[in-house]
Amino acid sequence: MAKIKLELVKLCKEFGELNAVDDVSIAIEESETMALLGPSGCGKTTILNMIVGLEKPTSGEILIDGKSVLNVPPGQRNVGLVFQDYAVFTHMTVRQNLAYGLKLRKMKQPEIDREIYKVSEFLSLGHQLDRKPSELGASELQRVAIGRTLVTNPEILLLDEPLSNLEASMRNQMRRELRRIQGETGQTIIYVTHDQIEALSLAHQIAVMNLGALQQYDTARNVYEYPANRFVGSFLGNPPMNFIRGKLAEDSGQRVVSSGESTMPLPAGIIGADMTIGSDVVVGVRPESLNLAAADNPGRFTSEVLAVEPQGPETVVTAAFGDSSFKVIVPAGTDAEAGGAITLAPQSDLVALFDAETGVRLMNSGGA
């Protein structure tokens, strides 16, 4: 097991009676990247502020390299923070911005110049050093903000919603840049974001948060394919995971979920011993995990098409199930239009069963 760089132990933070962070425990290894993912107001930024020291936790422990930093002031924790709006010092040139942290560390000027040269080459800011932030574009400002922190080579680099202020077209390129920085510096990085694309594409591990509580902390793939509960399932995926509510039933030897007159057969592996026929269940299946099925496929079912939304490479079809509906991704060419029918079959290993009340995942056909 690589060295644990940062560990949060039962972290809590209460503002009045609202507990913004509720008993969160996470460990992240050296030069790993982790994403704190969750809707706005789920406590992810509060955790960020506590790690950096701008806010004091109500209870719990924060260990960096195994040592507690609770009463270490923000300046001395040697952690780097990049803000969503970059927070570049607008009255200073890029060079002064980059040198700010080093001057505080009382570094001698030649050494500072060398460090600045190194980081500006690395972030291709070489020719901008003497320009004022007001003359720079968003992605350049972002690189200055990152460079300003990187140059003090912090133990951990934290980025708060790094891409949300960028133009859509710039995002792909900036994500590539962040991955390059990760790869070349081996820096331990924590992203705080509400955008699932950012989390999936930048982080090895994802911690999904909601209302202050940690929902799931696992590799990006597991969080996406085997969501621990309905919230995680619904938060990731575009369009999000379908949740089909119905009664568990037996239909010619095969377990199905039925609601109203539509039924959906379930893959064999999914049913655990304790599931009684007739009980309420919620089936979680991603739109892309439902495929067009041939007429003779045993696991197939048909339902009425409600709407067809072309997306370019694929088309999103909204189909009815009982009184609710679900979405499915089909290749662009499929001939389906509102009112017609469509026969589908769930991909055997990617269907999850959730408890109707708690939303916690009961069984997963993939076995994970």
Binding site: L54, G75, Q76, F83, D85, A87, H91, G101, R148, T152
Partner: protein
């Protein structure tokens, strides 16, 4: 409403017209019948009317000193208000109260305070443990200090208010970024907060500067420009010229020169605040 007076002013300043000469329309007509004094009023003022230039000088000195004092005190008080303390709201209203007082009343109040046996002398007596009875309003440089004290007392709250809103408008994140990079509060104040407030400070100086060169009410009541011309600012000089000596023509030309100077000043000052005013951001 405002353009007409300027034209009128220029016209009169060209004529020798005095109220006693007869009614105004003849003077107006005389301009067109080349009886004008070829602007003798102007060169008279500049060449051999020392009082005019001295008044201008005094106005500038008073303005500069009081503005700097107001800035320093205002900023100091504003930084104190960054901290939390009991009764902040009440304290804030009390500190703002001088600004609410009419200039005339400010004049009379300080007139009383600066009396020979008034509380100011008493207060100084306590501090210097000696019986002091300075003739504040009757000796040249003391009157000067009295006028500046009154001005500083009256308008420091505005500086305090602008500095406070300036301090609060400094974006939060650069400060937190500097904290995380390891800067101390003191360092943050000098390297982040103050530079960020440059625009606000300029605006405060410009706005207050426009007011202080027009100073009239307080001085008129406090010292009426006295003793002699020790505290005679440009406004007082113009007032005396126009409404006491009734030499309206000269007063006209003097006022016109002041208008020109103000126009120049406006253009100089307009640049920093134009962005703010026009965009209204």
């Amino acid at each position: 409403m405002l353009i007409f007076p300027f034209i009128l002013e220029f016209v009169i300043s060209l004529t020798e017209w005095q109220p006693i000469y007869g009614d105004f329309w003849d003077a107006f007509a005389s301009v067109f019948t080349h009886k004008i004094n070829q602007g003798v009023g102007y060169n008279y003022l500049i060449t051999d009317e020392p009082r005019y230039l001295q008044a201008l000088g005094r106005t500038v000195i008073i303005s500069v000193i009081s503005l700097c004092l107001e800035f320093v005190i205002g900023l100091a008080l504003a930084t104190l208000f960054l901290k939390k303390f009991w009764g902040k709201r009440l304290w804030f209203t009390a500190l703002l109260s001088p600004m609410m007082i009419m200039p005339v009343v400010v004049g009379y109040t300080w007139f009383m305070l600066f009396q020979y046996n008034g509380p100011v002398n008493q207060f100084i007596g306590w501090i210097t443990f000696s019986e002091t009875n300075l003739m504040w309003l009757n000796t040249g440089h003391l009157a000067f200090i009295a006028v500046i004290t009154t001005e500083v007392w009256h308008w420091t709250p505005l500086f305090f208010l602008i500095m406070l809103s300036g301090l609060n408008s400094v974006p939060e994140n650069p400060i937190r970024a500097a904290t995380v990079l390891g800067a101390s509060n003191f360092k943050i104040f000098w390297t982040i907060i103050l530079p960020n407030m440059k625009a606000v400070i300029i605006i405060a100086f410009v706005i207050r500067g426009m007011e202080v060169i027009k100073l009239f009410d307080e001085i008129y009541i406090l010292t009426r420009g006295g003793p002699g011309t020790a505290t005679e600012t440009i406004s007082l000089y113009l007032y005396k010229l126009a409404f006491e000596d009734f030499r309206l023509a000269y007063a006209g030309s003097a006022a016109f020169i002041v208008l020109i100077i103000t126009v120049v000043l406006i253009n100089m000052m307009l640049k920093p605040i134009r962005y703010q005013l026009v965009e209204g951001r």
